[in-house]
Amino acid sequence: MRNRVKTIAAWLVVAAFAGGAFVAGAELRSWQTASMSSGSAPAPTYALLKLTPEWSPVTLATTGQGTSENRELVRSIVKHLKDYYVEPITGERETAMARGAVRAMLEYLSDPDSRFLDPKERALLDDAREGRFHGIGAVLALRRQKIGDLDMAKIVVVSPMPGSPAAAAGLKPGDSITHLDGKWIVTHDPFKTPEIKNMERAVRNKEIDEFTFQKACEAAFKKFKEGVQIRDALEALTARSSGEISLQIERPGRKEPIECKLPCRSTQVDPVTARMLKKGIVYIRISQFNKRAVSEFGAELNQARANGAKGLVLDLRDNPGGLMDAATEVTRRITGGGAIAVIREKGRRHTIRVPNTRRLDMHVAVLINSGTASVAELVAGTLRDNAAASLVGTKTFGDGLLQTPLLLHDGSAAVLTTGRMLTAKGFDFEGRGLKPDREVAQYKRNGDAQLEQTVKILLPKL
């Protein structure tokens, strides 16, 4: 954790951006190896959109006890403002002051996962928790890359939610969105690009003339001035509810950028879809962990049992996570109870256990990919630990951090990183992800190679 925070500290804080507030996250670990020219599949180099704060919210007012020099300093300043500031400090103004304080403190941490949500941003998050996505309907992350001295923050698609404009337009996990409505999304300092640096060197060595260099500098400045800020781009992508948006996208392994135009609207995601596969295998896909996912998952399992299913394929691909409670409940339905997760918090480590109930009488395989993140990874890992489940697909995202939302009664919230989750047997996937037991890449445009493989693995066991 310490290392991670240190790494982030060096980075531009993007976490508290409006609209994109629940799209927080920045590349954390593997930027050292990242390179622009690399054509290989991207490592899971971004922290996931925190779909929801996974941990139980804390009601804030109960903690305001005690006193200190620091508190007195703030109190006296607020008092001076109330007594002397030329404009009256109305309730509304003081609310803005309080939000300003919280926002500034969280920004000071330079931890992309710890962020302030104003009421509008919190509403977006609440909506996402209920499966209502706005804008293009994709879960997004900011990926950090470092190329030489150049720090970049790219908006990357983690997963297009099923039924969303993003899914309809064919956006894929790993796509990076580079332009919005024809404008460049400002991802880096345009004066620090290798091109400008090389030209600078070339001018010094008199390989090119100064005029060319000056032109390039001016073009870079123009590009910066005409670009759209990441904050605004995220807001459009995640909060806009009408109109059209045109995007330019870079896809790993493709040279030409992809242009597409898609509507902005709200998408309601059905968290669970299920169908019977041949030979007594039920396929259940969970797109995100929320309350509805729990009840629907339970209903589908009962149905499958009634149909005599002996095998379960649990599809957690592109599942960005969700509520810890929901994840716990889904795991319990399969493992029959016991350890669900190991939680590390400041100064303590404890295991979440649930009372034993009946274990699910089916063989289980779990589909995972790079869009499987947060509590979805936890579920997959714990099922491997405690239900002998095989993991099939590709390596997961690697986000094991827990956030606690502090709810403020004006409707805003402070989201703070307070813990780290490990699988039931103590495997720590933060920063590395879970490796599948059977690695299967998804190449084909039609057909689902990963699912086919999973069925093949499951069949002999039945």
Binding site: K6, Y84, V86, Y108
Partner: protein, 434 residues
Amino acid sequence: MKGLERTDMKPRSRQFLIAALVISSFLCGFTYRDIGAGHGVLAALQLLPGRVAAAITANLASDDAELKATETYWSVFTYLDANYLGQKPDSKQLTYAAIRGILASLGDRYTRFLDPTEYTQIQEENRGNFEGIGAVLEAKDGRIIVKNPMANTPAERAGLRAGDIILKVDNDMIQGLDITEVAKRIRGHRGTKVKLAIKREGVPKPLEFEIERAVIPFEIVTWKMEDDASKIGYIRLGQFNEKSDEKMDDALTQLERLGMRGLVLDLRENPGGLLDVAVDIGSRFTRGDIVIVQDKGGKRTTFSAEPSKYHDPACPLAVLIDQNSASASEIVAGAIRDHKAGTLVGVDTFGKGLVQTIFNLEGGAAVSVTTMKYFTPSGQDVSREKIHPDVVVELTEQDLKSKKDVQLERAVQILRERLGATQVGTRNEKRDST
């Protein structure tokens, strides 16, 4: 976040000149010192446990949609301190961040927190001690350029020139940064060094400078006999600080000895300073009211000229103003105009009709709070309407390059005509000044 400082406050078309060495004073505008000093600032810091507890209770009980600033800060602070999984933040710095967040939410750039280091620096400046490199900066078309290096400063010795475009400060690109932020980065204590990368017209490669900061010999008041034949004197007032009054006296006495018959008072680029000093300086040139201030409750207080300070015999006066004549400069210019005690020459002023009070806090920090508005004696709200010159004279690009001060020339010419038209030694300050 750093981004907080990257606000474009002014239209690009307007030149925004700031002397790197007086930047902090500019930021705090001018300070309302006399009234308010007795407000028992330190007493207010003492803890009132009963009230604090009540405040928390009130916060707990409140079910409306409003937040209390201190309680909210403290709740999040304590929770964060106990539970944040990352590296424990420094609690002082975390609190400073919260304070800056609180003040930023007001949207008033003059209401700001001064940590102990910044506050010490401002106090030094109000005493007339500056440390830096001695370059005057200007924002133009989105670039920060050196307007001029001041004489006998590290900037001049290092070879900075007027018109140099600043590209980097200490290896950081400054593109998009506010001029005040750039100035802040360039400034620093004597003996320390700053690296600048400069783009100079006609020079292809960016130039690199490493300049050691020093104490800047900043003359609050400079004077000369501008026109020896007509005996027209010139006094430039750089700032309204604790030394201004005394230095102004010296300058007037010296010019008097040389037989001054007319005076040009230069308030260009003067970012203001202390309010009582503005009243003192204004008292030299006019009688009657100098400024009217209005506090939070709407109560108005009028400051009148100190009759004993009036410079008698009066001689024809012209006052030079420009877009960076701010706050205290605008008070003096406004009073002179309202009382028809002189002719204003130049361009519209900055337009800052707000007064700040600096409150000392425990631990050496301070907070500068906008506490009042002010009006000229005729009731003009300077925040809404700038001080307009009686005679508009703009400095063109060409003038700047050729170092031709057409504003000063015009002021001298006006005074010459006035002296020619009236008898030498006229002492009627109510002379018409159109």
